[in-house]
């Protein structure tokens, strides 16, 4: 307590002890990978390879000439088996490239003391980051190169690294910070150099003392980088909440972190930047926490992009037997439930959480008793019980007037509701309905 934080929010049970002490292990090399052409927020990639073609690990296999996009790379060497529609862990279907591996693995590099940053220009860093297909690794998967190219006239004063990891169960960021602090700090320096930011911050929740310790040692002689210990509270890792908590600036509604002179990147992203610039390694694998009471042996694994959930979960002892289980891409607060385990790990998969039925909510709900809990926890200052009613009833005008579009979908409202009303679900309906109406209005008659 007493550490910095944002207003409101909730304190769920974290259950991080299941994996927080377990070192990152390399997952078995998959025989087949499925690499979706959409692994980022933005325009989908076009395949650069054809069926039957041989590819090597790290080869670029998908790209598109759009500003907001990030290329995808082969995560194993082998042959292109097919290009087909696949179930994406984000909850939709999209085209994906299937690679059948030849069983070989490439050695990318081991050195943890990065190259001299003075030798690199901001343009070179941006270009390398784009080429490596690096996206935000906290879950939203926004292309990092875009963040490094702020619009003209917006000076970036600080880069904030997000090491909050406020989702229950997840410990991937925690382990990365504790095990590879030198890469995190080098990556942060590279991001600062690319944006011309004079200052760097690393925001970490107080429940990761070993990570804080490791990073503090790493920055001992760097006054321009500061570690900010934050209260363990959800959603501390939401971009706007993190900016407010760490440097006290509030991003106005509808604006971006650029507008208050900062950019925020995940610590995993910083490590990816390190590996891209020093080892020439594109984003082809990531650390994933596999946890929850529905999985037998929770672990932190370094997984190749495109490995199926099924294969990853199997390496953690499999799911517990005989129970209804919800398997999530991400943590329990914002994760997307999977209808099948035949979905690939993507760049934004920070965790695979399996929750067994006894913790899963029931679908019954009761009338709202106006207890105001949702209003008291909403980090965005909204009135969720109202927005829920408007969304559910398709009252889009009211929904918009009460700032429903400002919702960041953290789920605090549903979490605290004593009547167990699925408030966020209804708010999503409201948002979708609004988007739908806007599309209709735009479409030529």
């Amino acid at each position: 307590m007493g550490n910095k934080t944002f207003d409101r929010g909730v304190h769920p049970s974290y259950y991080k002890e299941l994996t927080s002490g377990k070192g990152i292990q390399r997952a078995a090399l998959p025989k087949t990978v499925v690499i979706p052409l959409v692994q980022h927020a933005g325009t989908p990639c076009e395949p650069l390879v054809k069926k039957g073609e041989a590819v090597v690990e790290g080869q670029k296999i998908g790209e598109v000439k759009a500003f907001v996009s990030a290329p995808v790379h082969a995560s194993i060497s082998g042959k292109i088996k097919d290009i087909e529609l696949t179930q994406h862990p984000g909850g939709y279907r999209c085209a994906a490239i299937v690679i059948e591996g030849d069983g070989s693995a490439k050695e990318w590099g081991r050195a943890c003391n990065g190259a001299d940053l003075n030798a690199l220009t901001p343009e070179a860093i941006r270009e390398a980051v784009r080429e490596a297909g690096i996206v935000g690794m906290g879950g939203a998967a926004f292309p990092t190169s875009i963040k490094l190219s702020p619009p003209k006239g917006k000076a970036i004063e600080a880069v904030i690294l997000n090491g909050c990891e406020c989702e229950p169960y997840l410990t991937a960021d925690h382990r990365m910070m504790a095990e590879e602090p030198e890469k995190v700090v080098w990556g942060l320096r590279a991001l600062m150099k690319a944006t011309g930011a004079a200052k760097g911050f690393i925001g970490i929740e107080e429940n990761k003392p070993d990570a804080i310790e490791a990073l503090k040692k790493q920055i001992a002689s760097s006054p321009e980088i500061q570690i900010i210990v934050l209260e363990a509270k959800y959603p501390q890792g939401a971009e706007k909440m993190l900016i407010q908590a760490s440097i006290g600036r509030k991003v106005p509604p509808g604006k971006l972190p650029f507008d208050v002179g900062v950019i925020v990147n995940n610590v995993g992203t910083a490590i990816a930047v390190y590996e891209a610039l020093n080892w020439g390694k594109p984003l082809i694998e990531r650390v994933v926490t596999i946890s929850g009471n529905g999985v037998k042996e929770p672990r932190n694994l370094l997984v190749r992009i495109g490995t199926s959930f099924e294969e990853v979960v199997a390496q953690c002892g499999g799911l517990v037997d005989g129970k209804e289980i919800e398997v999530l891409n991400g943590g329990p607060m914002m994760g997307v439930a999977q209808p099948t385990l035949a979905v690939p790990v993507v760049k934004g998969t920070s965790g695979i959480t399996a929750i067994a039925a006894d913790v899963i909510k029931s679908s019954d709900y009761e009338p709202c008793i106006r207890c105001a809990s949702c209003v008291e926890v909403c980090p965005m200052g909204l009135m969720p019980y109202r927005l829920g009613d408007y969304g559910k009833a398709y009252r889009t005008a009211d929904f918009k007037a009460w700032d429903g579009l400002t919702c960041i979908e953290c789920g605090c409202c549903s979490y605290v509701c004593p009547a167990k009303r699925p408030l966020l679900q209804w708010i999503r309906i409201g948002k979708l309905k609004l988007r739908h109406e806007a599309q209709k209005a735009q479409a030529p008659k």
Partner: protein
């Protein structure tokens, strides 16, 4: 060692599309968040019932078994009415969620000790029937059902609702059957010096559960500890009553009783901790809650000092209940990052 070999075995099997460990599991899909806290409406309501127990116990101590009888009758009548309505409306039966118990207890605690049982039943039926179920049941009512029931009785049985008895702990005057409440003494006889300790403990004439401030505060603090009431509601209400009555007391202490008297006498404590804080009928926004309690507090004092009645807590809360939808609409919290004064 065993686990290790098992793990390796599974590693080898994993790439096949039907890993045996997974085939058995049934996947559930729902919208996030997938974690919910353990609160529920029955849990909240039963905590409120628990919090009312000290006040109920105090009423039995001061007014004897008759108090217990009234409480039981009111609770039973409220639950019965709730059941009947839910049955008739073909709604799920939720009599045991505790909300009807609260209404029954609160109504009983606001009645005089000698109140007839048949009238108490009538009041309970009105409280739940008209005050709650006709609006659509829990969550949809505008007014606090217990207070509405009490107001109904006030209008229907004006004499019965204002005939008080001394607690049995007080040495009775010869053959005295009725007694005046401290508020009535202050109002109609201009009395200003009261034994505040008696008021605090509850050793005075008054409604069943309103007299003992200490018992009510105990229950209120329990609710605060459980996190079910917002501190600004009870403290804002009591604070306003104290501050506003202090103005008159300071101006003329010979004519107006002290703020402490206003806090301890009548229904102020019960109202502040259990009625102002009623979730359904209080505002959901911070600013709305402040306006709600400040206006209600001022109104209670105005009625007490200048109105025709000795007590104003009930009407002050009922009156402000009516403004809650309006307050909720016009006191929106400022959204994150929005500038002051801007939509």
């Amino acid at each position: 060692m065993d686990q290790k070999t098992m793990e390796n075995k599974e590693l080898k099997e994993a790439p096949s599309s039907e890993a045996p460990a997974l085939a058995a599991a049934r996947l559930v899909v729902s919208s996030s968040p997938h974690f919910l806290n353990t609160e529920s409406i029955p849990k909240i309501m039963h905590s409120v019932v628990t919090a009312l127990l000290p006040a109920a116990a105090a009423s039995v101590y001061f007014f004897g078994w008759r108090a217990l009888l009234l409480i039981i009758v009111c609770v039973a009548a409220c639950m019965g009415t709730e059941y009947a309505f839910q049955r008739i409306r073909n709604k799920p039966i939720k009599v045991y969620d505790g909300s009807a118990i609260i209404t029954g207890m609160l109504l009983a605690l606001t009645l005089p000790p000698g109140f007839p049982v048949y009238a108490a039943i009538l009041g309970s039926i009105f409280a739940i029937g008209v005050g709650k179920q006709l609006f659509g049941g829990l969550g949809y009512n505008i007014f606090n059902p217990a207070l509405l029931g009490r107001a109904f009785l006030m209008a229907t049985y004006p004499v019965l609702t204002t005939t008080w008895a001394e607690p049995r702990t007080v040495e009775k005057a010869v053959d005295a059957v009725t007694a005046a409440t401290p508020l009535a003494l202050a109002k109609f006889e201009g009395k200003v010096d009261f034994n505040l300790l008696d008021l605090f403990i509850g050793n005075t004439a008054g409604s069943l559960g309103e007299t003992s401030a200490i018992a009510i505060i105990l229950g209120g603090l329990y609710l605060r500890y459980k996190g079910y009431i917002n501190w600004k509601l009870p403290l804002g209400y009591l604070g306003t009553i104290a501050a506003f009555s202090a103005i008159f007391w300071l101006a003329n202490p010979a004519k107006y009783p002290s703020p402490l008297f206003h806090l301890l006498a009548g229904g102020a404590m019960l109202g502040a901790w259990f009625m102002v804080t009623d979730m359904v009928t209080s505002p959901t926004t911070s600013l709305g809650q402040w306006i709600f309690v400040v206006c209600a507090g001022i109104m209670a004092v105005v009625i007490r000092l200048f109105g025709g009645l000795p007590e104003g807590v009930m009407y002050s809360i009922l009156f402000m209940n009516a403004f809650v939808p309006l307050l909720n609409k016009h006191t929106r919290p400022r959204i994150f990052g929005a500038r002051r004064g801007k939509e």
